[in-house]
Symmetry: C2
Subunit: 401 residues, 2 copies
C-alpha cells in the first residue's frame, strides 16, 4: 500500500476489499478467468456441421433466413437483417436513416468505438453527448437542455448553431446490456426531429418495461462478436419495424444488386455486409440457448451483488429500475475518492487472474475524434475514471458456492 | 429460330451449336448445374467442429494465424492479413496504399462492383480503364497511350489534366482467374508513380510466369466468398511483401486498437474487418484441397476447350500464354456477329439447366459511377456484349465421359 491510497471508513484498501468480494464469488483461480467467453451447449455444432455437409456455407442459405426470422421473433418485430458485424449493422442503420455526408449524429462519448466509426463511414460527424450514472446510457434531460441552447429547429431539421450542420440522428447504446432511458430518449428524439437508433450491440435479451431493447428505435443494431452473449463468430443485425427500412437494409448489405435471373447490376454504392450461412447456423444454435444463458448470467450477477453489498469502496452496477438486463458485462463503480486508484485495482485484479478492464477510452479523447462537437461530458468523464468490468461468462454461475 | 438470328458458316445457330458442345461435357442435366459450388472433401468439417468444441470461434484464434501463414506460404510472401470479405481486403489495400479523399484510382470498367465500391469507401473516385481480349484484364499499352495524353507527372505525382486530382493507384483484376499482363502493368505503374494493387479475388492458385498471382503488386486482395475456388463462407485477405504494409493492414482491420493489457483505445478510424476463427478454420481445410480442386477445374476446362474447338460461333477463353489459370469461371467469347444474340443464348442455356451468366454490367454503366472519369472503353464494351460464363465447379470434372 502506498501513501496515496485511500481507505474506506472501515479501513479496507480498495483492492483488498474488492479482491475479497471477488473470491467469495469466483474462488481463487489458478489461471485467468476471461471477461466473457462464449459457450456452445446446444445445437451449435450440429447446425454448423450441416452447413459443411450440404455445402451451404456462404451468403445465401436457410440458416441466414432462419436466423433473421428468429431475431425478429425474439424482438417481436417483423424484420431483422443479418450483417457481417455489429459495426456493419450500425453503418447500415445510419445509411437507412438517411444520414448524409456532412450531417452530425449524436452519440454517447461513453461507448465502444464502433458507434463513432459507423458515423465516420457514413461521412458524417459524431457529436458527443453525456451519460447518466444509473444506466451509463445517454442522459436525456441533460441532452435536452444542451440542444435547446446549442441547436435550433428549422422546419423538420435540427441544426447545430455552431457548425451549421444538420443533426440527423441520435444513437443510444445500452451499455453492458443495461437498458438506457428509452422513454426519455424517444421523447427527446421526437421533439428534435432526430431519427432514434438503438445501439443494442450489448443488450440482446434485455428488456425495458417488459419490451425487448432493440424494438424501441426506428432502427437498432445488434452484435454477435465473440465476446457477446450470443455469438456468430463475428456478425450483427439490423432490426426495424419498417418494411421499407428492412428492404433497404437488405439491399445495401447485399451490394445493392438488382435482382435478375442472370444479370449482375447494382443501382447504388452498396456494401458486402452479408452474414455467411455458416455463421448464421452458429447463431441459430446460440439463440436456442439464450434464455438459459441469461438466467445463468443473472444468477452470477446476483451473487456479485450480494458479495459487493458490504464493500464500501465500490458499488456493483445494478439494472435500472423498470428494466431487465442481460448483464452482458458486470461492472463495479468505484466511490469518487477511489478514482485515482483504478489502474492499481485493475493491476491487482488481473494479477489475481480475474480479467478486468476499464471503460473504453471516451470517444472525444481519441485522436481522430478529439475535434468533434460535444456537450459537457463531466459525468462520462467521472464514470470513465471509476467504472471497471469483471468476469461475466455464463459458465461462472456454475462456480461452486 | 427468328429471322434476326445469324448462322455460322456451316449453318449452325448460336444456341444449337453451343448447347451441343455443353451436352458433350456435362450431359443433359435434369436440374440446374450451378455456376460454381464449393466442395468440402477434406478437413473442413473437423477444423470447424474443433472451433465449436474449444469455444474459439471469433476474431482471435489459432486458425486465423494458421490461415494467414498458409496464405503467405502459398504466395511465397512473408505476410497475409485475413479479412471479413474480399471487398474489405480491397478497401484495406487502398487505405494502406495511402489513397486519400479526392484521389482517383485506375480500375478496369470490366470487373465486379466490389473493386469500384472499395474506391468509394476510401472517398476516392474510380477512373475506368479498358481491357484487352486475351486475358480480359487491363490493357497496359492502351492505358499508357491514354495516360500520356490525359495526365501529367508532377514530381512523383500523377495528375489528371481534366480533373486536377491525383491519380494514386492502379488496381488490376485477374478476371475469372486468368492472370492479366502483369509485366506490362507493373512497368506502367512504375513509369507513372502509381501504387500497383492486384485484385486477385478470383485467381487464387493462378500463376504468371511461374509466380503466383497476388505477389506481383505492392498489395493484393483475395476473396473467399462462397462462389470462389477457396471459400471461408465469406472472407478475404490482403497480401504484401512489406512488413510495414502488413502491420498497418492488421491495425486497420482490427479497429486500430492500441495494444494494452486491459485498455481500449484506438489511434485512428479503423475497421471491424476481422475474419472469425470459425471461417478461417474452413479456409485452412480448403487450402489443403486447393491443388486438387484446381487440377480438376483445369481438367473440366480442357474438356470444354476440346468440345468447343469445333464450334464456329464462340471461342472458349483459354489462359493467356505464359500463365497458368485456376479457371475460376469458364467463359465463352461469342464471335462479334453473334453479340446481339447473347441474351437468347443465356435464356436457352439456363432453360437447359446449364447455369450461365453474362459479364458484370460495366462499372461506367452503373448509375452511381456513370459520371466518373474514363478512357475509351470500346474493347470492354465489345467483350460485355459477347462474354458469358458457364458452369465451373470442380465436381463437374467427375461427370462421366
Amino acid at each position: 500500500m502506498t501513501s496515496t491510497e485511500s481507505r474506506s471508513p472501515s479501513g479496507e484498501t480498495l483492492s483488498s476489499g474488492i479482491l475479497s468480494a471477488m473470491r467469495e464469488v469466483l474462488g481463487s483461480p489458478s489461471q485467468m478467468i476471461p471477461l466473457h467467453e462464449p459457450e456452445f451447449r446446444g445445437n451449435e455444432g450440429a447446425f454448423v456441421a450441416e452447413c459443411i455437409e450440404t455445402g451451404w456455407v456462404s451468403s445465401v442459405g436457410s440458416y441466414v433466413t432462419r436466423f433473421e426470422k428468429d431475431l425478429a421473433a425474439l424482438h417481436d418485430l417483423p424484420h431483422a437483417v443479418a450483417t457481417s458485424s455489429g459495426t456493419a449493422a450500425l453503418h447500415t442503420c445510419l445509411a437507412v436513416a438517411g444520414v448524409e455526408p456532412g450531417d452530425e449524429v449524436l452519440i454517447p462519448a461513453l461507448t465502444f468505438v464502433a458507434t463513432a466509426n459507423a458515423v465516420s463511414y457514413a461521412s458524417a460527424t459524431p457529436h458527443f453527448v453525456d451519460s447518466e450514472p444509473r444506466s451509463l446510457g445517454v442522459d436525456a434531460a441533460k441532452l435536452r437542455t444542451y440542444l435547446l441552447e446549442a441547436a435550433r429547429v428549422e422546419g423538420d431539421r435540427l441544426v447545430n448553431r455552431a457548425t451549421g450542420a444538420r443533426i440527423r440522428a441520435l444513437i443510444a447504446t445500452h451499455i453492458f446490456g443495461h437498458p438506457c432511458d428509452l422513454d426519455g430518449l424517444k421523447e427527446l428524439a421526437a421533439e428534435f426531429h432526430l431519427v432514434f437508433i438503438e445501439d443494442a450491440a450489448e443488450s440482446i435479451g434485455s428488456a425495458y418495461k417488459d419490451q425487448p431493447t432493440g424494438r424501441h428505435g426506428e432502427l437498432a443494431a445488434l452484435s454477435f462478436n465473440g465476446n457477446k452473449v450470443v455469438t456468430t463468430g463475428g456478425g450483427g443485425a439490423v432490426l426495424t419495424s419498417s418494411p421499407a427500412h428492412a428492404e433497404r437494409a437488405k439491399h445495401l448489405t447485399t451490394t445493392a444488386r438488382v435482382p435478375h435471373r442472370w444479370g449482375y447490376t447494382h443501382d447504388e454504392v452498396g456494401f458486402n455486409y452479408r452474414l455467411p450461412n455458416l455463421n448464421a447456423a452458429l447463431g441459430c444454435g446460440q439463440l436456442e440457448q439464450l434464455s438459459g444463458m441469461i438466467d445463468r448470467k443473472r444468477d452470477l450477477s446476483a451473487r456479485y451483488a450480494a458479495s459487493f453489498a458490504e464493500v464500501e469502496t465500490a458499488r456493483f452496477l445494478l439494472e435500472p429500475e423498470g428494466t431487465r438486463s442481460n448483464y452482458w458485462l458486470n461492472a463495479l463503480v468505484l466511490a469518487p475518492e477511489f478514482a485515482g486508484q483504478r489502474d492499481q485495482l485493475l493491476t491487482d485484479l488481473n494479477d489475481a487472474n480475474y480479467m478486468s478492464r476499464p471503460l473504453w477510452t471516451l470517444m472525444h479523447s481519441l485522436p481522430m475524434y478529439s475535434s468533434c462537437p460535444r456537450m459537457d461530458l463531466s459525468e462520462a468523464e467521472s464514470l470513465e475514471s471509476r467504472v471497471i468490468n469483471i468476469p461475466s461468462s455464463p459458465r461462472l454461475a456454475d462456480t461452486p458456492r
